[in-house]
Symmetry: C2
């Protein structure tokens, strides 16, 4: 079966799709009976030269895609919500199946996209929007359907994982690691969306929608980036048997969902701990299947193209997933985890006694306590707590910070 597709965007991922079809299109046609042919490519600037791309296919008018009735599906690899949303709506309403890598669009406008898809009787596929080539969307909408999903926990931003891996392996500071990531093309000139956790938050919204059927909005996600992490905390994590990762965490609660993106200390034995460099890894907790992990390339031209083309084959064969039905999520801020609390304290008798009293008062139980160095005017004093309520920690930390012989250096959540 010949399938004519429209392509929106012809940057890294868009050209990746063109190259992938040139490379493996024949194999796909033979094995899966689906001959994918690019009919039109919509771009901002028609005149920019693009290697391996037939200029005759390139247009800057959306209408050229919409009005071409031979085009049954559109692959969007442009990104952004403006004009991303209006393009998607127009295509879907025109009955064109839509395949997108656009996590921001999905996270912010999922309802509108679903509505447009219903109007046009079209399907919406978005495997490439989370973790690139790693088929986590397919796993949640396919293989794990017999399960009640209890949690998703993932390294879903390659940029920050690369930066943290550099800091961890080479003791590099945050700024130097970011510069290296920018040099290698893993981080953008303005790295905010990655390092402050926005990108991961978009992806977490998508994962929560699929895993829990709960519509978590971007603003509902507790979000902290990695820009304030110190080399010292990364080193201390090591000493204590942990690694620091920026995780997206979603957990199902009775009547609510926990959704947060922030740096987390995880034990070195956690399968996510060995996901290094620009790789992505997602750990899923399912009631029947147990814990499952997926690991692979979370970005890049061909990995992302692979995810989008696999969606296209599915759509062509009538195997696309149904539109996701979800209910508004009650996002729960009252959650519990372990906490690493680094303080700077006077090395005098009675400090531990005073601080531990405050922890006890707020119901926080201490798992370990380490003092680094001795005899100087102030020394690092580090606490790791047992599982505690976030609210209790906030209160205890605020009270400790009032004491004149101790100050709070950093607080990092710990997941066992």
């Amino acid at each position: 079966m010949k399938v004519r597709i429209g392509l929106i965007g012809c940057g890294v991922v868009g050209t990746g799709i063109v190259h992938l079809l040139a490379q493996n299109g024949e194999r796909i046609a033979q094995r899966d009976g689906v001959e994918l042919e690019i009919a039109k490519i919509l771009v901002g600037n028609k005149d920019k030269p693009r290697k391996g791309v037939d200029p005759a296919l390139v247009t800057d008018r959306l209408e050229d895609l919409l009005e071409d009735e031979s085009i049954s599906m559109v692959l969007e690899a442009m990104g952004g919500v403006d004009p991303g949303l209006s393009y998607a709506q127009a295509c879907l309403r025109a009955g064109k199946h839509y395949i997108t890598a656009n996590k921001e669009l999905m996270a912010k406008h999922w309802e509108e996209l679903n509505a447009a898809a219903r109007e046009g009787n079209a399907t919406l596929s978005f495997e490439a929007s989370v973790a690139g080539a790693v088929p986590v969307i397919r796993m949640l909408t396919g293989s794990l359907r017999p399960n009640n999903i209890t949690s998703v926990m993932g390294i879903i931003n390659g940029t920050t994982n690369y930066i943290l891996s550099q800091m961890d392996q080479f003791g590099t500071g945050y700024k130097a690691a970011l510069a290296k990531a920018q040099e290698l093309g893993y981080a953008e000139a303005d790295p905010t969306a990655d390092v402050e956790g926005f990108d991961a938050a978009y992806k977490l919204c998508i994962l929560c929608g699929l895993a829990f059927g709960a519509r978590v909005k971007v603003d509902d996600v507790l979000r902290e980036g990695i820009s304030k992490l110190s080399a010292m905390d990364i080193e201390m994590a090591h000493e204590l048997g942990y690694v620091i990762k920026l995780l997206g965490i979603g957990k199902q609660h009775n009547g609510g969902v926990e959704a947060r993106v922030h740096p987390v200390m995880i034990p070195k034995t956690n399968p996510l701990a060995s996901v290094g460099g620009p790789f992505n890894g997602v750990l899923i907790g399912a009631d029947a299947a147990g814990d499952l992990m997926l690991y692979g390339r979370g970005a890049g031209d061909l990995p992302t193209a692979s995810a989008m083309v696999s969606d296209a084959i599915n759509v062509a064969q009538g195997k696309a997933a149904e539109l996701v039905e979800f209910t508004p999520a009650l996002v729960v801020n009252d959650f519990s985890c372990g906490y690493y609390i680094r303080t700077l304290a006077a090395d005098t008798p009675g400090v531990l006694h005073g601080v531990s009293g405050i922890f006890a008062k707020h119901g926080v139980s201490i798992e370990s306590c380490v003092q680094k160095g001795q005899g100087e005017s102030a020394v690092p004093l580090i606490f790791v707590t047992h599982k505690s309520r976030e609210a209790d920690i906030v209160r205890a930390v605020a009270e400790i910070d009032q004491l004149d012989y101790i100050s709070i250096g950093s607080v990092i959540r710990v997941e066992k």
Copy 2:
């Protein structure tokens, strides 16, 4: 849509399916629109009590399934090829979609099953046959379709992985680790199928069929088990930065396929190295998507049931994968990898000179050489080679073993 299913076998996995549907059947009906109802359960002994299983459904006559026209699909969780093959053929020919966890049947009789499926215009699904809940089949037949798969490498037998993990962590000998595995139910009373690599070989045949479209027969797989591994080699692996795992390895060559199951030393940094205990992990190399790993529970009642029920939902929705088309595989025995060679040698001058001459003569390049202990009559002398041809190693090792001042203790392949 209500779907009535027949179940063959009601042991661990069969009852797992019954329990899973009782637990999550309503959720599946609501979310995926597929109401799975067990119509009949075929067992060997009707009178055996089975917890949670309605005795009215139980039968010992295959005809009761075949003749019930309301049954559109059959889930087989019985295992074995006799009567597994005839049951499967009868169901498929009767037009009943067949979903099986039976790796031995798939590996030995895939062609016959395909033929019966074509006759009956039915589908054949087998996600549960490899790595339990880990959706590696779905990944190869779905998400990775845009790719040329270059390699599969996996820990696909939980029993041996548990035994090796015990030996590795606690310095336990093979026999004690096996006894522990038997005590915990991870190994059977007769552990041959697992520890000698037959089970992994069956699964590798299935993976090669999907990944390369090449029909590898069980007898074509180079197969070695773990029963001859010594605690010393496991300890030495550790010292050298490796872990020993029983791997199934399939690689695509020009015009051929490499298919082998044997103990392998892999670097501790390999993502498979951290797959411990009874878990399974499969690493797939794909030309566009890059390296991907899946990790999870490779066996057990509910994990296996989850895989089978997910197949059932797919079948009900008309989303089952097509029958696999394959060509006979030319299985290549001329492959290359690294080698760990432990010898026992006289601690006298000239030994290294003599041995290294033999390696050089056969084109084998040495990466490292370690002598353990000193001054005794004979000491362990260990070589790790660079990537070498298996045939060259065989010749070099045979020649070295002829020398009177050195004998070969063990040879273990190394994959970087």
